[in-house]
């Protein structure tokens, strides 16, 4: 078929991954029993708990695939996959470190200077240093290359940054942002605006930065608007190559779009539903559990294939777009399918944990298919993989 760009080799079974999976499961059972966290849906956005992140760092479960000289543990992407999957399935509070561990760290490893890596990566791996993604802007969502935040070199060679970034998850708890700015003019032609973009490593405590909350539907404060007003970013905080920001962002997306958080955001709801189906023995509920699980199993296989490809040193951005499109659709469908076969109203105040899980999942649901690239943008990338663009 013409979709070779979409198809990856099957992931070989990994005994190491299954070993660490059981270690994480045991750790989570202990933490749950000790009451250090309670299960919620979508905790990689909403579950900020620096103490929990530091515990994961101490166990060697952050920066897992990075070189030891940068605080990493030189383990495989398959092992990291197992760890992240277990944390998400349990609804554990992983939001503080999530972006840093998932994509900012790998981005620094790939494009950062030696000084940047030495300074920052060990702190991420320890669960102490958190990042935000500085891509979207008030007037630039899907059309990312149209951003207007500017970085202008001053006489000292530093970048003076002006503009605003939005949807920056947990900026109010984070230390750095990797901020995409325009440093040069766009080129000619339809893809010309991909030129002149640059990624900067920005310390969020710099003067001139203000962080304003943007509340989501359930009133939760996770998103922010980050405003840059003549912020002087030192020249040595350039990330990678000036003008190569578009290329670097694209590479980052293979990490951002392919992980299990793209289909497990509502797993805690499905787990609660499983408890209900077990208790009632209702054949209709059991069938829905089976059907949704079969979709999750297929998504796991796709996501595992990408983890294996990352281990081979590939950057499968097109398959990653496909997984995210399919996976986030699944996250939403879980809510719809479950509510059709349970007689439980969704409410955050429900005495029934299933009612609360339905409510949390529903109120977060619009975000699943928007964040990290809308499903329309993702399908466009898949169409490119099919040779249609």
């Amino acid at each position: 078929m013409s979709s070779n760009q979409l198809t990856l080799a099957p992931a070989p079974p990994s005994e190491a991954a299954e070993r660490v999976r059981l270690e994480v499961r045991e750790f989570l059972a202990q933490e749950l029993a000790a009451g250090t966290f309670s299960t919620h849906v979508d905790t990689w956005l909403s579950g900020v708990d620096p103490e929990f992140s530091r515990k994961l760092g101490a166990r060697g479960w952050l920066g897992m695939t990075w070189p030891k000289e940068y605080g990493g543990h030189e383990r495989t992407a398959m092992e990291r996959y197992a760890v992240t999957e277990e944390l998400l399935a349990a609804g554990a509070p992983v939001a503080a470190h999530w972006i840093a561990d998932r994509q900012s760290g790998p981005n620094l490893l790939r494009y950062g200077t030696e000084a940047q890596r030495k300074e920052i990566l060990p702190r991420i791996a320890a669960g102490e240093c958190y990042f935000v993604i500085g891509m979207s802007e008030p007037d630039s969502g899907s059309d990312l290359a149209s951003i207007r935040t500017r970085g202008t070199r001053n006489a000292d060679g530093d970048f003076v940054v002006n503009g605003a970034k939005v949807w920056t998850s947990n900026a109010h708890h984070s230390h750095y942002g990797i901020v995409l700015v325009r440093t040069g003019p766009p080129g000619e032609g339809p893809r010309g605006k991909h030129q002149g973009l640059t990624q900067l490593l920005v310390d969020l405590s710099l003067p001139g930065i203000s962080i304003n909350p943007i509340r989501i539907l359930d009133g939760g404060h996770h998103f922010n608007e980050v405003v840059f007003d003549d912020v002087v970013v030192p020249g040595d905080m350039l990330l990678g190559t000036e003008g190569a920001g578009w290329h670097q962002v694209t590479a980052e997306l293979a990490f951002e779009r392919s992980g299990p958080e793209r289909f497990l955001s509502t797993w805690p709801l499905l787990a609660e539903f499983g408890r209900r189906a077990a208790a009632t023995g209702d054949p209709a509920q059991l069938a829905v559990l089976g059907r949704l699980s079969s979709r999750a199993l297929a998504l796991r296989q796709l996501s595992l294939r990408i983890a294996a490809a990352l281990d081979r040193g590939e950057l499968p951005d097109i398959p990653a777009a496909l997984v995210k499109d399919m996976g986030t659709t699944f996250e939403q469908d879980v809510v719809d399918e479950v509510r059709r076969v349970v007689d439980v109203p969704a409410s955050l105040d429900s005495p029934d944990p299933l009612g609360r899980a339905l409510a949390e999942s529903q109120l977060h649901a619009p975000g699943y298919t928007l964040r990290g690239g809308t499903n329309e943008i993702l399908k466009g990338i898949v169409a490119r993989g099919l040779g249609l663009r």
């Binding site: 499961r25 079969s294 199993l297 297929a298 296989q301 399919m326 993989g385 249609l388």
Partner: protein, 358 residues
Amino acid sequence: MASDQDLVVETVREILTGHEPFVLTAERPWDEGLWSALAEAGLTGVGLPEEAGGSGGELADAVAIVRTLASGAAAVPVAEQLLVAGPALVAADLDLPSPEEPLTVAVDGTVSAEPSDDGDGPGRFVLTGTATDVPWAGVAKHVAVLAAAPPGIEGAVLAVVDVSGLAASSAVNLAGEPRGSLVLDGVGVPGALLTPAQAAHVRARYALTRAVQISAALEQVLAWTVQYAGERQQFGRPLGKFQAIQMELAQMAGEVTSTTALVDAAVQALGRGEATVALAAAAAKVRAGEAVERVAKLAHQVHGAIGFTQEYRLHHLTRRCWSWRDEAGTELAWSRLLGEALVAAGPDDVWPAVTAVV
């Protein structure tokens, strides 16, 4: 599939070029010429051990053959023979009929088995009842029948029936493939007692086989649809240049890629002989069936009216997929079985149960 199978795929494709799919009828219910060509090339015994009369080779080879034939809408009982009935007979230590004669499988109906006293010693049973929904009934020369065990004995009896002299009813599936019934009226046959787990394994193999066929067929449907969208011009440009069509094709690709990933994983679990293969097969069958729903619908939508005609090729695969998803156990049956198994370990352990499937 892995490149080790490239040669066998190439061989099957070459044979297929001389055998285009056709509309199956009562007069011509299968492609006998294609079967002969495949048998002559030794392809109807692949994956079955040489000492049992097969051609040897790996499960992956047999799967590659079945996939290639499925994507070519080949009207031959190779999937049933290579992936279900053949391996089931070998596993039960029953004699394999000659691979050159088509062998099929029957798991549904009212057939029960009693130990025979025909004097030919143990391993003989008398089968009574009707085997229903038998793939290639009236075409296959032998049927591996999964029959109810004698009263008081757990499990089932797997028996080999030579269908000479037995009448098959003329039922067909949505694609016209024979799916008739066979009436067994006290037929004495060789057989073996299977444990419940072994009997479940036969059913799982059958379900996984249909999932394999569906995943291969849907890959072809996607490829045809992408090709068509690139060629068909409307409003002065190819359909594939319209965003609305691109979204539909991308959705099809997502379904197809997801299905293939899970089916491949289930096949590998089968190859490794894992105990959870029945659940992997259940999940693969359910996922494949769900993919048929969306992919076939969108493929017809993109093809427009021409795809709705009998003269155009699309229906050879979409009608098969609409049938295969219901065969070897419906999606509802397999979804329930999977759901029940996932809560069996305890209400708090659904996630560990899921990760243990594949």
